[in-house]
């Protein structure tokens, strides 16, 4: 195998190794099923990784990539399915078991201890020791050797990890994987935090690893990266493998179709007549910017209009909603409701102006799980439920019961603790909070995450009803069909930049994915894309 040491852009390191040349694959997963309450995250995944190949995993948000990674890392145990490791059945019962076999995982959020040194992090959990005393010298020397192998001998093993750059930390993470003598390294979007020259270095290392016979499972949303370093591609969709072992050179269109080709397993809303009233401009956002998160975001939402925001996780969708809501302070730009400009960075100003937010993390950001539904419902409007500071509990109960019945929350008992409800009903409770306030603008961040199919359909109907009542709705969702089905207009984001703002009827799922994944199609579509890729 020839690895061009000087050329960081290895075409396809594993390409000359055909599937049959090396006989059995290093890893073979068949029929993997993993169920969580209410969701079937993996529903028959097939994955086969050959020794020394860079196997790319593609799929939309929610396709099951993260769950699959966790199964590989031993963090989740699959409910069904078979895992063959070097031809023998293996049970990945725990992260330690996976590491013992030789499977190391580099998570997207780096799992390093910032206060410890490079060497200590590399050998965390399998410290070099003799008779119970740590062999710090040996650990340091080995860590230094690993960093040299990774082409970064200048990072001293004594350096505190928290002081390193993102790229440096990633190298430490990789060194840790190598220290375990991994045969298979799983990399979850390793380039997300890297600048382009650092990406080149990463690719060079990946190429060398592959040349040494180490296999890599590589996850990325950037198709051009997959072209550069990938050997073969497996595409996941709704928890299933829809294609495996494709050559990395497969045309973009084909890959996008595979990712979006939807089975009828999920009920997506049928487009309804828009309730938008073009004459009443409710929410106006101009030039909203937060350094490092999003830049120059402008849009307006009319009464009864549903604006969808599509984009990958990390594209700045939630950040925009939270900034509009005043929970984050913008660096520049303004938010106005009914023509009145809001005080920036003030939640109470936004709430007073009639904005409501159903946050992304329902449990940690939205609800008081230990309190009754009624208390959660009135939390944002306590001022209107009191006389001289005393809570009007009878009216609170009556109004809560009314809104719960309207939203068909089951059971519609305002005294029950919110924590005992299902995901969909909890989401309704969050929405109810803003309905009792009589909000003008409702920001919904991933409203259907962790919500089962039946409750989803109800939430979709609810959005339509709210719009029909003249509420301006902004909807963020990772599920493109959901955005396209619910929204009148769609904003497509990529890395904090609005690449398209078009009527939903003019977009298809493939268009959106194209913009989101590559940014190349955006040039024709919106004419606002400056850089197609970085």
């Amino acid at each position: 195998m020839t690895a061009g040491a000087d050329d960081p852009v290895l075409a396809h390191p594993g390409q000359d190794v055909g599937p049959d040349d090396l006989g059995q694959p290093l890893l073979r997963m068949t029929g993997i099923v993993k169920e969580f309450p209410g969701v079937r995250a993996l529903d028959g995944v097939e994955l086969s990784v050959l020794p020394g190949e860079v196997h790319c995993l593609l799929g939309q948000n929610g396709a099951g990539k993260s769950t699959l990674i966790k199964v590989l890392a031993g963090a989740h145990r699959p409910d069904h399915g078979e895992i063959l490791w070097r031809g023998e059945p293996a049970v990945l019962a725990s992260p330690v078991a996976a590491l013992r076999l030789g499977i190391a995982t580099m998570y997207q959020e780096l799992d390093l201890v910032p206060g410890l040194s490079v060497a200590e992090n590399v050998f965390l959990g399998h410290e070099r020791s003799r008779f119970g005393f740590s062999r710090r010298g040996a650990a340091r020397a080995e860590a230094a050797a690993l960093m040299r192998r990774l082409g970064h001998a200048e990072i001293p093993p004594e350096r505190e990890v928290g002081l390193l750059s993102a790229a440096g930390q990633q190298l430490v993470s990789m060194a840790r994987a190598l220290a375990h003598d991994a045969r298979l390294i799983v990399m979850d979007e390793p380039t997300a935090a890297l600048a382009s020259d650092e990406v080149d270095n990463l690719f060079r290392i990946v190429g060398e690893l592959a040349a040494d016979g180490v296999s890599v499972v590589y996850i990325s949303h950037r198709l051009e990266e997959i072209r550069r370093i990938g050997s073969r591609v497996t595409v996941l969709k709704d928890g299933r493998t829809v294609a495996s072992g494709l050559p990395a050179g497969t045309p973009t269109g084909e890959l996008v179709n595979l990712m979006s080709g939807r089975q009828v397993s999920t009920v997506f809303p049928v487009r309804e007549e828009s309730a938008a009233d073009e004459r009443v401009e409710v929410l106006k956002v101009e030039g909203l910017t937060r350094a490092g998160e999003f830049a120059d975001v402008s849009f307006t939402v009319h009464a009864g209009e549903v604006l969808g925001i599509a984009g990958l996780v990390g594209a700045g969708r939630s950040e925009i909603l939270e900034t509009v809501f005043g929970a984050r302070r913008p660096d520049a730009g303004t938010v106005s409701v009914d023509g009145v400009r809001l005080k920036p960075g003030s939640v109470s100003a936004a709430v007073k102006a009639g904005i409501g937010l159903a946050p992304e993390e329902r449990k940690s950001q939205g609800l008081l799980l230990d309190l009754p539904v009624a208390h959660n419902v009135t939390l944002a409007s306590l001022g209107t439920y009191s006389t001289a500071g005393f809570t009007d509990r009878a009216r609170e109960m009556a109004d809560s019961r009314a809104v719960l019945e309207k939203l068909e929350l089951r059971p519609a008992d305002p005294r029950r603790l919110v924590g005992t409800f299902s995901g969909g009903n909890q989401q309704k409770a969050v929405v109810a909070r803003w309905l009792v306030r009589g909000c003008r603008v409702l920001l919904l961040d991933e409203p259907t995450r962790g919500v089962d199919v039946g409750a989803r359909a109800e939430l979709y109907r609810l959005v339509h009803e709210l719009a029909a009542d003249g509420v301006a709705v902004v909807l963020v969702s990772s599920e493109v069909p959901e955005v396209l089905g619910l929204a009148d207009r769609v904003l497509v984001l990529r890395e904090g930049e609005v690449l398209a703002d078009r009527p939903a009827a003019e977009l298809t799922e493939a268009d959106v994915l194209d913009i989101v994944m590559e940014g190349s199609a955006a040039t024709e579509l919106a004419g606002v894309a400056e850089e197609a890729s970085s």
Partner: protein
């Protein structure tokens, strides 16, 4: 069992070929008609009273002893009310004992006494409130964790008290003050009235007002409270202000009982108050709590104390018993909790 709702809710698509996912909603009671744990605590209290009666049938359940017990419980009880609010809001206040000391010293200096009883009372309240607000501002706007901010107050308030008093006990010569606070109303000592009043006001504030509701919200999930438009910082500052004010009231009670102010007043109040709050069923992590539980907690320790003094027993055994009670109460609480919050 009020609601039986395990019937699936799904209006799921007839067009949906996949079987609907399991419905996770379980029928559940809205809450116990009688709080089991509180009943248990009251049981412990009654049991202790019984032990007291058996060991000292002539001395324990007399009017005099009950009155003494309650007067002794008064100051720590009032401090515990403030502590309950702080802990429900998700914080902790280590400085209450020192604030009691500082308030008691400041209100009994010769200068303060010379202005008469009203000024003494106001001085005690204001010093307590001010110290509490300083705690609150440091925590909410200064972003210092409660443990550290109140630890600093714990050290410096007592230091200031020592400096003001020169470590001498300041005897109250103002007779108007002592006659009123050491007196009785309708046959019940004023101190006990004060204790009852503070508990009543605290209970209403916690359970019947928006302020109380917001305290629970801030302690239960500060981020959710913030995203619901609640000014979490201001609220936090106010909660510590309340705790400080309670310390001021407690200082007045201590001064009345001992007819003096000293920098050694209120020693270990923080530990006793936290213990009472915790065995009373308030979660140390915040978000849930009960003032009635706190009251019972305070009374349990008071009765325990009385049993030991009445029987002339050493305090070391008393402290061991106290520790055992704390651990038992918390264990009871956590098993209950596990049953209650079964994560969905």
């Amino acid at each position: 069992m009020t609601s039986k709702s395990s019937t699936p809710v799904l209006a799921t698509g007839t067009d949906d070929p996949t079987p609907p996912p399991r419905q996770r909603e379980r029928p559940r009671r809205g809450g116990f008609p009688v709080d089991v744990r509180l009943a248990g605590l009251v049981g412990v209290l009654l049991l202790l009273c019984l032990v007291g009666y058996i060991t000292r049938p002539d001395g324990f359940l007399t009017e005099a002893n009950i009155s003494t017990m309650l007067r002794l419980a008064a100051a720590i009880g009032v401090v515990s009310v403030g502590m309950t609010f702080v802990i429900i809001s998700g914080g902790i206040d280590l400085s209450v004992g020192s604030i009691v000391a500082l308030s008691s010293v400041w209100m009994t200096t010769l200068a303060t006494q010379s202005y008469g009883p009203v000024v003494m009372v106001l001085c005690g309240l204001l010093v307590g409130l001010a110290c509490g607000l300083v705690n609150g501002l440091l925590i909410s706007y200064g972003k210092i964790v409660p443990f550290i901010a109140t630890l600093a107050m714990y050290a410096s308030a007592r230091g200031l008290a020592e400096r003001l008093s020169g470590r001498r006990t300041q005897v109250v010569s103002e007779t108007g003050f002592t006659t009123f606070f050491r007196g009785a109303f309708l046959g019940i000592p004023v101190l006990i009235w004060m204790l009852a009043l503070v508990f009543a006001v605290g209970w209403v504030l916690l359970n019947r007002t928006n302020f109380g509701r917001r305290t629970l919200a801030v302690g239960g999930n500060a981020e959710a409270a913030r995203l619901a438009g609640i000014d979490v910082k201001r609220h936090t500052a106010l909660v510590y202000g309340i705790a400080g004010l309670c310390c001021g009231i407690a200082a007045i009670m201590v001064v009345a009982r001992t007819t003096s102010g000293a920098s050694t007043n209120g020693l270990f109040y923080e530990l006793d108050a936290i213990a009472a709050v915790v065995i009373g069923g308030t979660l140390l992590t915040g978000g849930r709590g009960s003032l009635i539980g706190t009251l019972v907690g305070v009374l349990i320790f008071t009765v325990l104390n009385s049993i030991f003094t009445q029987n002339n027993l050493d305090t070391d055994i008393q402290n061991i018993a106290k520790g055992v009670i704390i651990v038992a109460a918390v264990l009871l609480q956590s098993t209950k909790l596990r049953r209650r919050i079964r994560k969905t």
